[in-house]
């Protein structure tokens, strides 16, 4: 009877540290995007006249294609993870390369979109704003999409790092934490974009 307490199952969530840590970190990212997107929602609610109807200022078809690219990058990322689960090193690297290409394309299209919007007078600076709606539109748009783009860019850099490590044979079905948390981060960024695309471009 004295050993009854000692033989309890191990404490913990049954999720290894690295993955749990990434989940916990993503919770803080949720709150970060809450403050940015929340500011947009509240400002738009308070000053509807400063915002334009969908498609009036922003290029919805182009961004729809870009959204599709990011959704595709999520499926390639998850395929990379499925490959490493089966110890398919070549598959892992190929899917990682595909994810990197798709992610970079997304960032590239976004930069292209920024350049055109700037030319139309859709700028973050309130004093120089000359597009539809009002200056708050420009301020909030660049804040949200900019920080999302920064997250994608960091994700691409991290993906390149994971790719280099995978070429050195760092991952196996027993050691796949690095690929899995990379995937968690990447899918989270995708998830944020799904919400962002809806409320910035479509509503």
């Amino acid at each position: 009877m004295t050993t009854a307490t000692a033989t309890r199952p191990e404490p913990g969530f049954g999720v290894y540290n690295l993955k749990l840590g990434m989940w916990v970190f993503l919770l803080s990212e949720v709150m970060f995007f809450t403050s940015l997107i929340g500011a947009y929602i509240i400002l738009r609610f308070a000053h509807p006249e400063q915002f334009a109807a969908p498609g009036e200022v922003l290029n919805v078809p182009l961004t729809a294609v870009n959204t599709f690219i990011l959704i595709c990058s999520s499926v390639t990322m998850v395929k990379a993870f499925a490959a490493v689960e089966k110890d398919d090193q070549r598959g892992l690297q190929l899917w990682l390369v595909a994810t990197i290409i798709l992610g970079s394309t997304f960032v590239g299209v976004q930069i292209y979109e920024y350049i055109h919007l700037f030319a139309d007078g859709f700028v973050p600076n309130a004093a120089e704003y000359s597009a539809g709606g009002g200056p708050l539109y420009g301020s909030t748009f660049y804040l949200m999409t900019g920080f999302h783009g920064l997250h994608v860019s960091i994700g691409v850099l991290a993906l390149i790092w994971v790719l280099i490590r995978s070429m050195r044979g760092a991952y196996s079905p027993e050691r796949l934490g690095g690929v899995e948390i990379m995937g968690l981060y990447w899918h989270f960024v995708d998830l944020v974009w799904i919400v962002l695309f809806t409320i910035v471009y479509l509503i």
Partner: protein, 585 residues
Amino acid sequence: MSQTAIKTDWDFPAFAGEGHHEVGFIRTYIFSTDHKMIAKQFLAMSLIFLALGGTLALLMRWQLAFPGQPLPGGGIFPDTMAPGGIILPEFYNSLVTMHGTFMIFFAIMPLLVGVFGNLLIPLQIGAGDMAFPKLNMLSFWLAVPAGFMMLASFFVEGGAAGAGWTAYAPLSADGEFTGVYLGQQLWLGSLFILGFSSIAGAVNYITTVINMRAPGMTWFRLPLTIWALFVTAILVLLAIPILAGALIMLLTDQTLGTAFFLPAEGGEPLLWQHLFWFFGHPEVYILILPAFGIVSEILANGARKPIFGYFAMVLAIIAIAFLGWIVWGHHMFMSGMNPLLGTTFMFTTMVIAVPSAIKVFNWLGTLWKGNIHFTVPFLHAAAFVSLFIIGGLSGIFMASTPVDIHIHDTYFIVAHLHYVLFGGSLFAIFAGITYWYPKMFGRLMNTTWNRIHFVGSFIFYNLAFFPMHGLGLEGMMRRLYDPTQYGWLAELQPWNVFITYAVFALIAFQVIFFLNFIISMWRGEDAGPNPWRANSLEWSIPSPPPHGNFERIPVVHRGAYEYSAPGWDEDFVLQNEPPSEEAVQ
């Protein structure tokens, strides 16, 4: 369970024995990944910033007591701050702002979360180190440059930020209003970097507490310090990113000309207040919850009794943490907020009194009929309870909208926040430092000098801050540069002089503590593993604990508060002591 089947990329030696090796000076003292060393680094850093914040307070008190008179030795200040030793209004604004900022973000928060979180979490749950030791090191080495950045803002053109620690927009959003351009931007950048440090720490704490508890250390056997730090880490994790987002918007308003908080361009200054206080109120609990944990630990130890109502204590911590998210509007009663919303916030704020009162009554219940040992940590912890009651009660005054209209932004608020932050948090920090000093450094602090420090601090603390309640009710404004410019405050000027002398004495007693702290590292008595005859796991190993902490993974058999349990020779029993045959009836 199959969770051990997955190996992660960055596996580390979880327990000593494997992986113990000699490391060089730099790896031991500077870029250390050992949680105990990081705790000491945080301790050194935040005590320095605490001293700096105290010095800023002294300068402010001089100006308030003797407005227009040259500061003794004030000639060292450049003409942009205090020409001829007379503090300029702009410099006074910077002093107010930086005193608040340094004390909250660089002294109290790292002391409670950085020091005690790093020191206690692995030791008290029976782990060899944090889940991510390198992330832990990064956390400290982000906090240091953030501190220097904040400090540097004093020396740039325009001086340090002067819009208050809350940096209300639009005052803070355009340098034209305060005359501070770069200083405000450094303030924003510094807090942003510090935010990364805090989040790295929080990720570490949460993962460690969830996943790395020793066998038998169930959730409801955790010491209350761990519960408090765990819940605090969740608050840090979720609140700091809100601040980060708000800081970015304010920074782009200043630098890129965006319009978030500038009404002239269509922005909403009130949005800043909502964002800031949605972060700020959980932040308030970040600054007090770990103190609750520390005090619970020490009161039970001093009274040689189990903590009264352990389960209720845990629930109260969780309840306070949750309620902390739905009360932020009580900082904004005077902002012209929707009155319906104001009433809602008034109600939720008053509800917080319930879990807070549960904690206070449970502390009193712990002391009731205890065999009290008046050790220095116990004295500080008991002082915490009494001062926190005063601070908590004045908090209920302000929660009530009609009362708040009268006392909003007066010295009543200053008195209240110092009763909870100095009388509350800082006394708990003194309790914690004196209690765990032997575990950190292997030596005891000098008890006589510690007692002198306690008595002096307690008396002069109350003499300094209690009269502020009266000044506030008489209408003395918070952040006021010169009280004598108003007739009704000029009559009360003797009180300001009195408070200033009390603060001088209060700070003089802190010097005793600093000296005792440093000298005892070399001259203190050898502490032994368990000087306080306490129960939790850190007292079962040598002081200071070796690299990797435990020789073997400890197995936990009981909760942390089984003081004076029947059937044992001593009045304490370590959590990992195997049950004895007699004790189990």
